[in-house]
Symmetry: C2
Subunit: 319 residues, 2 copies
C-alpha cells in the first residue's frame, strides 16, 4: 500500500474541540498566534471555534472575532461548530467557510448534549439549509452534518448501523452538503470503521462522506485512521497535542494527536502539506498560553527517525 501522491486533508480542531474541553481560557491574542502558526506549518483547514452562548462555553466566547481574524490568513478553510440556527447565523455573519452541526445519532446523547430530540435537531438543520440557500452562491459555507456517537454511545452502548445510516440519509435529505463520522466516545475499532464508511457510502454516495473525527480514548485512534484511509476517506480531524475530545481519565487523551497523525501519514508516503518541524514548534505557543494543560503525543517526545526526510517519499518504502 504505497500511496505516493495521495493528498490528505488534516482538519485541526484544537482551537475549538481542544479549548472547549479544558478549563483554562486562552487569551484571544494567543489563539490568533496559534492559528496563524498552524497555517504557517501547512494546515489547510482549522476549526477555530463554536457559536454557542458564552455562558455555556466561555473558552470560546471570542469565536466571531477569531473567525474574522482567521479569514485574513490565506490558504486555509475556516470551520466552526454550530449547535442551532442562531449559531449558524452568527457563524455566517462572521465569515465561516464551513459549518458543522453535531448531531448525536444516539438520541439520549442528543438530549444531553444539544438538549434536542432528533426531530428538534432536524428543524434546526432545515433552517440552516434554508438560510444558506438564501445567500448568494459565493457566500455559502459548506454545511456538514456530523454524526456524533457514530460508533457507540456512553449512555446507550452500541449504536445500530442501520440507525446510523438512516440518520445520515436524513441529513443529506435535509440538504446537508455532506455528513461526517465522529467517534465521540472512542468506541470505534478498525473493522467497524471500514464497515460503517462502506454502508454510508452505499446509502448516500461517496461524495457525501469524506471525513472522520476519531478519538484515541482506547489507543486505537491511528489504527482507525488507517482503516478509514484504506477504505478511501481523505479528511481527518485531529488536535495539536491531543487537546480535548473529552479525555476520560488522566493519561488517556481524547482527540488523536495531530503530530502523530502527520508523522504516520508522511512516513507512509502520503502528502499532508504539513511541515513536522514547524508543527512541533507550534506546541510551544499553546503550552505557553495554557500552561496548566497537558499536551499529549508520542512523536513530540520521541522525534522523527534518524535521517528522516519529510515530504511524502515514504520511510522504508524504497529498495
Amino acid at each position: 500500500m504505497h500511496l505516493d501522491g495521495i493528498d490528505i486533508l488534516i482538519s485541526e480542531v484544537g482551537p475549538r474541540d481542544g479549548l472547549q474541553s479544558v478549563s483554562s481560557i486562552m487569551p484571544t491574542e494567543a489563539k490568533k498566534v496559534w492559528i496563524k502558526a498552524l497555517a504557517d506549518a501547512g494546515l489547510r483547514e482549522i476549526e477555530v471555534g463554536s457559536f454557542v452562548p458564552a455562558k455555556v462555553l466561555p473558552q470560546l466566547a471570542d469565536t466571531a472575532e477569531i473567525v474574522t481574524f482567521a479569514r485574513t490568513i490565506p490558504g486555509i478553510q475556516v470551520a466552526t461548530l454550530v449547535p442551532n440556527l442562531k449559531g449558524a447565523e452568527n457563524a455566517i455573519a462572521a465569515g465561516a467557510q464551513k459549518i458543522t452541526f453535531p448531531l448525536s445519532v444516539s438520541e439520549t446523547h442528543s438530549q444531553k448534549n444539544l438538549r434536542m430530540t432528533h426531530e428538534q435537531a432536524f428543524i434546526q438543520i432545515k433552517g440552516i439549509v434554508e438560510l444558506i440557500k438564501s445567500l448568494p452562491a459565493d457566500k455559502r459555507p459548506l454545511f456538514e452534518g456530523s454524526l456524533s456517537t457514530a460508533f457507540g454511545c456512553t449512555l446507550e452502548g452500541e449504536v445500530p448501523l442501520t440507525k446510523l445510516v438512516k440518520v445520515a440519509e436524513t441529513l443529506i435529505g435535509l440538504g446537508c452538503d455532506e455528513v461526517g463520522l465522529a467517534d465521540t466516545t472512542g468506541y470505534a475499532n478498525p473493522a467497524q470503521v471500514k464497515l460503517t464508511i462502506t454502508e454510508i457510502w452505499n446509502a448516500v454516495g461517496k461524495d457525501k462522506l469524506t471525513g472522520i473525527h476519531l478519538h484515541n480514548t482506547r489507543g486505537l485512534g491511528l489504527a482507525n485512521v488507517l482503516a478509514a484511509l484504506e477504505t478511501g476517506l481523505t479528511t481527518f480531524d485531529s488536535s495539536l497535542g491531543g487537546l480535548g475530545g473529552c479525555p476520560f481519565a488522566p493519561g488517556a487523551s481524547g482527540n488523536i494527536v495531530t503530530e502523530d497523525l502527520v508523522f504516520m501519514l508522511d512516513s507512509m508516503g502520503l502528502r499532508t502539506g504539513i511541515d513536522i518541524a514547524k508543527l512541533l514548534k507550534v506546541r510551544e505557543i499553546v503550552q505557553a498560553a495554557i500552561p496548566a494543560e497537558t499536551m499529549y503525543g508520542f512523536t513530540p517526545d520521541a522525534g522523527v527517525p534518524l535521517h528522516y526526510v519529510q515530504g511524502g517519499h515514504g520511510w522504508g518504502l524504497s529498495a
Copy 2:
C-alpha cells in the same frame, strides 16, 4: 474486514522485555504469580526471561527458575531470549519451548547490542541449530531468529529492505525455524510493515514469518498491528502495561500495550482467547511488585465500551 473466527496469538513479553528495561528488580515469587495470572487470563505464549549473564541483566538472573516454573503451567508456550550458544544451552536445559536470537539487521546496532558482527552472530546461530538438531525430536524448541532494527536503526537510520531480506534468507538458510520482525526503534509505519512482510514472504516463504514485535514509540503501534494483520500475520508481541521496549522519553511507551491490543482485536471480532477483565486485574499484581514503575495503556484507563460483550463477535459489526 470482518474477520470472525481468525485466531490471533499474542505473545506476552512483559516478564522479559518489560523487566529488562526497568530498573526495579521483581522478586522471583512475584514473577511466578504474574506469569500464572497471565496464563489464567488466557495468554498462550509468554516470553519469561532471557539467558544473559546476571551481571548484565540482574533483573532476569532467575530466568532458569522461572522457565522451570512456567513449564508446570498447562497450555502455554514458554519462550525465552538467548544472545548466544551458551544462552541457548541454558534455555534448553531449563526447558524453554521457544528460543529467540535477537539479530540486529543494522550491523552497528548488532555491535552495540550483542557485541558481535553479523558473521560472529551467524556462528552462534549455527551452533544453536546444531545443538537443537542433536536433541531428540520431542525435546527440540522452536528456534526463531528475530530481525531487530528491521524498520530502521537509531544509529544508522533507514535499513534497506534488500539488506533485511538478505539477512532473513541467511537466518533461514542457517536453520532457524522462522524469522520474526522487530521494530526495535519504533520507526515502522503501516505501509512499510505491509511491504516488508510481503518481501520477506516472497524470499523465504509464508510459513517462515508469522509474527511481529512492534513498538508504540511514535504512537503508531496499533496501526502497525492492523497493517500486519491485514497482510496476514497472526502472532503479535506485546507487553502488559506497555512495560519495556526502551521507552525513549517519559510518557512515550515502548512496547505496545497488551490490554489495548487485546481490546482492538477482540472488538474487531478476532479471537485472542484472552479475558479482558482478568487481564486488567493482572496489572495490579505487576504494579504491586514494582511500584516505582509506570504502567501505560488507554483501555485500562477508559475501560471497555458500555454493554461490551467479549468473545470475538465484534463491536458494531452486526446490523
